[in-house]
């Protein structure tokens, strides 16, 4: 009987968890907590709590030394996710109890209902413990394998292989046999038989209460089967090929394993926070305004007078057409153009040449080119234009 209130004990565990953790580590390593070690830990933490540890039944005496009671040990183990590796024999015992209970259920199916319900409950509890043990063991073995892979303790290759072989021989391979569904004696296979039986009875059993118990057991087994499959996959993919996997070593993988194990405590690489604002940000109004204002054209436009004098020349088509008709036949059209422009204007420009060239498309003249003849060069104010020598005569006349 514990005199203290439950909340007082929980508060004590919360307040002195660091001490409990140290005690847990010592017990995990040495199997018990020597009385000298208990004194050292309490003194180091400046905590005089030995009497409460005993009073609240957290610690128990073993001769002169101490140990954490199972319930506290398992609680801390679970919270820290640091499980003790279970030997195959410790897991296989569940196989025996599951088989025994199942056999008794089948044999006593028509017997006393109360004991039948208790046996179903007992079977359910053993299955729960079995799946928990397998999961905890997988976690521990996975951590061991990751530790070997990251090799922070710088073991040499031979030592690494020795450790890996040890884990494979005594823990991984036996666990694989326990989970191997193809092996008739595996616990997983036994559970499949129980599942089949429970499924049948949850539908056909006459008593409703027992039907419900079988139904509960059946759904528990479905879940357990899924969980075990997950563990089995883990074994096949990651633990069985352990020796193969530790053959290579990489500093980067060591770093990544370290990071994944403690990612909340490690500062990741710096990555600049984006300056983009959310629509509800305080700064968004001014930023949006600034964005749109950049497209406003506020610059003053100034139109300045150009002092340069330009010749005003308007192409008088009818005048030049009349001159052309009167000069026909013409042996060299562009030569004629040059003479006309020299007579009428100060300078020859591209615009003037092209305007006169337009006369060639009039209907009442006929244009012929002299093949293989040389080209004539016309020099305008800005360009040199190479043109063919063209004969022009009145349309229809020889």
């Amino acid at each position: 009987m514990i005199k203290a209130e439950p909340k007082t004990i929980l508060h004590f565990v919360w307040s002195y968890f660091d001490v409990l953790r140290e005690l847990f580590d010592v017990q995990s390593q040495d199997g018990l907590i020597r009385k000298e070690m208990l004194e050292i830990i309490l003194e180091r933490n400046k905590r005089d709590i030995k009497s409460q540890l005993i009073e609240y039944k957290i610690l128990r005496n073993t001769n002169d030394d101490f140990e954490l009671r199972d319930v506290y040990y398992k609680l801390i183990e679970f919270i820290l996710f640091e499980f003790r590796p279970l030997l195959p024999e410790e897991i296989e015992k569940f196989g025996t109890s599951i088989s025994d209970l199942f056999r008794n259920i089948k044999e006593g199916i028509n017997g006393d209902k109360a004991i039948l319900v208790e046996r179903i409950r007992g079977l359910s509890s053993q299955i729960k413990e079995f799946t928990d043990s397998v999961e905890k063991n997988s976690i521990r073995l996975l951590n061991e394998s990751r530790e070997l892979k990251s090799n922070v303790s710088r073991l040499d290759y031979r030592e690494k292989i020795q450790r890996a072989s040890f884990w494979i021989q005594y823990y991984i391979l036996p666990l694989n046999s326990i989970l191997d569904v193809n092996h008739s004696e595996s616990i997983t296979n036994k559970m499949l038989n129980v599942s089949e039986f429970a499924n049948q009875k949850r539908l056909t059993f006459t008593d409703e209460g027992i039907r419900q118990s079988f139904e509960k057991l059946y759904f528990q087994l479905i879940q357990a089967n899924d969980d075990l499959l997950k563990q089995s996959k883990l074994l096949t993919n990651e633990l069985l090929p352990l020796i193969e996997r530790i053959r290579t070593e990489s500093l980067i993988i060591t770093g990544w394993i370290e990071f994944l194990q403690t990612h909340n405590k490690i500062q990741p690489p710096k990555l600049l926070k984006s300056k983009k604002d959310n629509p509800y940000s305080k700064r968004v109004y001014l930023n949006t305004k600034e964005y749109f204002e950049q497209f406003k054209t506020d610059e003053e436009a100034i139109i300045a007078d150009d002092d340069q004098q330009y010749e005003t020349w308007v192409f008088n088509k009818s005048k030049y057409k009349r001159k052309l008709i009167n000069s026909l036949p013409i042996d060299n059209f562009f030569d004629w153009c040059g003479e006309q422009l020299k007579d009428d204007t100060n300078e020859i420009t591209n615009e003037k040449v092209f305007a006169l060239t337009g006369l060639l498309f009039e209907d009442d003249i006929e244009v012929n080119s002299i093949t293989n003849s040389e080209f004539l060069n016309i020099k305008t104010r800005t360009s040199k234009i190479s043109v063919p020598i063209l004969n022009v005569k009145k349309n229809g006349l020889p």
């Binding site: 980067i252 990741p268 990555l271």
Partner: protein
């Protein structure tokens, strides 16, 4: 005062947390005006310009820790799983194109599944896809090939270097 060509785009991209890659025109401008930009970002924003042969980016105390942590977890699991398959993960990161199908297979079958499922960005194929193409794409850590395919840009090296430094730090601490 004359600013280098593409100055505005360089400043906007870098302040958005983007990696400017060596194949981009802005990168040449930064490289040519390295001194100017180092001074400019330090004086204007108190940001440090990190310029390697492969990318330019800004680094400061104003860091997006959550995103960086998620990207680190992503690379950590990817490297771990590729290594588990017996692949040279550095070669794969540098030279290979990835499909979402491949990424999903690696993540769904990973022994880090508890961590993956507790991460909002990586917990399923949809969030993963969004995370890769949007969050990592926006910062030019990946290049999109199609709706389902991508490859990593040299920006991934920031995270690989981080893992190396972390390992070194851990190993030194053990000695």
């Amino acid at each position: 005062m004359d600013y280098p060509e593409m100055h505005r785009q360089i400043v906007e991209d870098l302040l958005d947390g983007k990696f400017i890659l060596s194949r981009e025109r802005q990168f040449d401008q930064i490289k040519e005006n390295e001194e100017f930009y180092i001074g400019f970002f330090m004086a204007s924003f108190n940001h440090e310009l990190e310029l390697t042969n492969e990318f330019a980016r800004l680094v400061s105390e104003d860091t997006d820790e959550n995103l960086s942590r998620d990207i680190s977890i992503f690379f950590a699991i990817l490297c771990y799983e590729l290594d588990k398959q017996g692949k040279n993960f550095l070669d794969v990161l540098q030279y290979s194109e990835f499909s979402m199908e491949e990424i999903n297979y690696l993540f769904d079958n990973s022994s880090w599944i508890d961590l993956i499922q507790s991460n909002k960005q990586l917990r399923d194929s949809d969030t993963r896809k969004r995370f890769i193409f949007s969050s990592m794409g926006k910062r030019s850590i990946i290049d999109k090939v199609s709706d389902e395919r991508f490859y990593f840009t040299p920006a991934y090296k920031v995270f690989i270097d981080f893992a190396k430094e972390l390992a070194q730090h851990t190993l030194n601490g053990q000695q």
